[in-house]
């Protein structure tokens, strides 16, 4: 981190920031303002700081983060839609001393993969599940997610999501907190530097718990989708602060009882 950079013979600058070594040099394909890039970066910062690049195996989902394995310079597997936690279970069961995480969006984890989500956590699989909740299907073009807000306009709820017609936003983190297999459940965000710092702490804690074989750690990240929400990045942050966090309040939902 403290390497000296020599731009020319006269000026000597100290390098104060570089991207994590565990990120590849591939440019992110994510839209400007999207939370995925920040979560990727923070996660790989944690990998660098804890020195776990050789021990970590990740599972990418189907959704916008389907190419997570292009960016995260750790061994990774690409799972079928919704099945990341089952794939992670398969990996962890045969390599119990490695660290395993899954990275999934709301459609993946909270709709098509609900059964896998609940049963993976109910077994207390000793993995980290990262859940990016941006309330929309980003990759397929902005359709309703199980976590879309009431009244939210999406390409499949063009008049706004109606609870009477399609149900209420599903609060997966609240649900799975009830399961004894869930060791640590927290809801974080990445919409300002303070939130990013808190997410990083949660990630570090989760890795430590996994090393101690404590059970499933589950981190929901309330995120934004400027393209899917049809907003500018700034507008999307405002929507997140004013609307998303109202439905999905940030903070720990389950902490270890020691």
């Amino acid at each position: 981190m403290n390497e000296k950079l020599y731009l020319d013979a006269e000026v000597e600058l100290e390098q104060v920031y570089s991207k994590p070594k565990s990120l590849t040099d591939v440019p992110f394909h994510y839209c400007p303002g999207c939370g995925h890039s920040v979560v990727h970066k923070v996660l790989m910062e944690v990998v660098d700081e804890l020195g776990i690049q050789e021990d970590l195996i990740g599972v990418a989902p189907v959704g916008c983060s389907v190419f997570a394995y292009h960016y995260m310079n750790v061994d990774m597997q690409e799972a079928a839609h919704g099945r990341a936690s089952a794939v992670a279970t398969g990996i962890k069961r045969v390599l119990p001393d490695k660290l395993v995480f899954s990275y999934q969006g709301d459609g993946d984890l909270a709709a098509i993969g609900t059964a896998e989500t609940i049963h993976t956590i109910n077994r207390g699989e000793n993995i980290l599940m990262i859940f990016i909740n941006n309330g929309i299907y980003g990759m397929t073009g902005g359709q309703m997610a199980p976590t879309s807000l009431i009244g939210q306009i999406t390409s499949t709820t063009p008049y706004g999501r109606s609870a009477a017609q399609i149900g209420n936003p599903i609060k997966i983190s609240d649900l799975i907190s009830l399961l004894p297999g869930a060791y640590y459940v927290t809801r974080q965000a990445v919409y300002n530097p303070n939130a990013v710092r808190k997410l990083k702490k949660a990630l570090i804690k989760s890795i430590e718990y996994q090393k101690q074989k404590k059970g499933t750690c589950f981190i929901e990240v309330v995120s934004n989708c400027p393209s899917g929400w049809k907003m500018t990045p700034v507008e999307s942050i405002k929507f997140l602060e004013e609307q998303m966090i109202h439905t999905y309040p940030l903070g720990d939902l389950k902490v270890p009882q020691n």
Binding site: L56, I57, Y69, M72, Q77, G90, V94
Partner: protein, 366 residues
Amino acid sequence: MEKEIKTEEARLMKGNEALAEAAIRADIDAYFGYPITPQSEVIEYLTREVPNRKDKKTVVLQAESEVASINMVYGAAGAGARVMTSSSSPGISLMQEGISYIAAAELPCLVVNVVRGGPGLGTIQPSQSDYFQATKGGGHGDYHLIVLAPASVQEMADFVFEAFRLAEKYRNPVMILSDGALGQMMEKVILPKDGSLSKTAKPWATTGKTKDRDHNIITSLFIQPEEMEKVNLHLQEKYKVIQSEVRYEEIQTEDAEILLVAFGLSARICQKTVDLAREKGIKVGLLRPITLYPFPYERLKELSNQVEFMLDVEMNAGQMVEDVRLSVEGKVPVHFIGRMGGMILSPEDVLNKIESIHESQNAVNA
């Protein structure tokens, strides 16, 4: 010496249990499955026996569904494990998406289908109605499994070893296509020798990125069509090589004038028909494909120069018969007899069919 005798000892076992015991002896690292009749003895046997084998570290996990099972298999196979699952027809249907991903990502594993009668929820009785699904891909996209069809409890055990040999050699999923009768019936079996199936290095597996290599990625996503086409061409090249693994058994084909073609349980029935027919002076032989993919097209083509007609016998509406007809390219008539929905033909049924075809041909000739 005493140990040697012990491993060679004959046991009386159910097909499903012999298969499960063979899996333990093949040193599987993991089994993921979900109960379904008529194959539940596989997971029952493994959950009962594995904890008693102190030398084994086999993971046995009852998943929440067949969908979860096959994706656990994907994860474990991608992490370099020797891994398998088993199910019966409706459960195998649920696994198709995962099997397609496994074939595309070129992961070695074993999927056992103890077939029951369908379609739909069907029946729990034996059937061969999943032939198309097993041999033509089953899920989406252009891919093939290697398919082994046992015809005895002995082969239920032996083919586990054979399946992993082939799966690991070609990085391809292998299916054992059995049926409810082979799974449930008890026969004498000499079990394969414990620990005799060696393991090879899998440098492509996601076991944690080491400093001396790039990160390993297990995926089936190739968004650029040029790249996806290359992946497909590579798979098709592999399937061409796999054709050399074709296996079949011939019974009294040397002088046969009529050829029965049948796999699995139907071949057991036809074996008796061959004897019955020969007692009556009718020269009948039997070709039993052991690998259903690759299929013995070439051998059947050769035999079409020798026989008057072929009779394909299956416990379905006529599935393999399409491959038999492809083999002979119209040179000889290929007839079919089958029963569906869990019903089984008798050797006499098959003999009667042979005689009626014979008579009608003679009538035409006269």
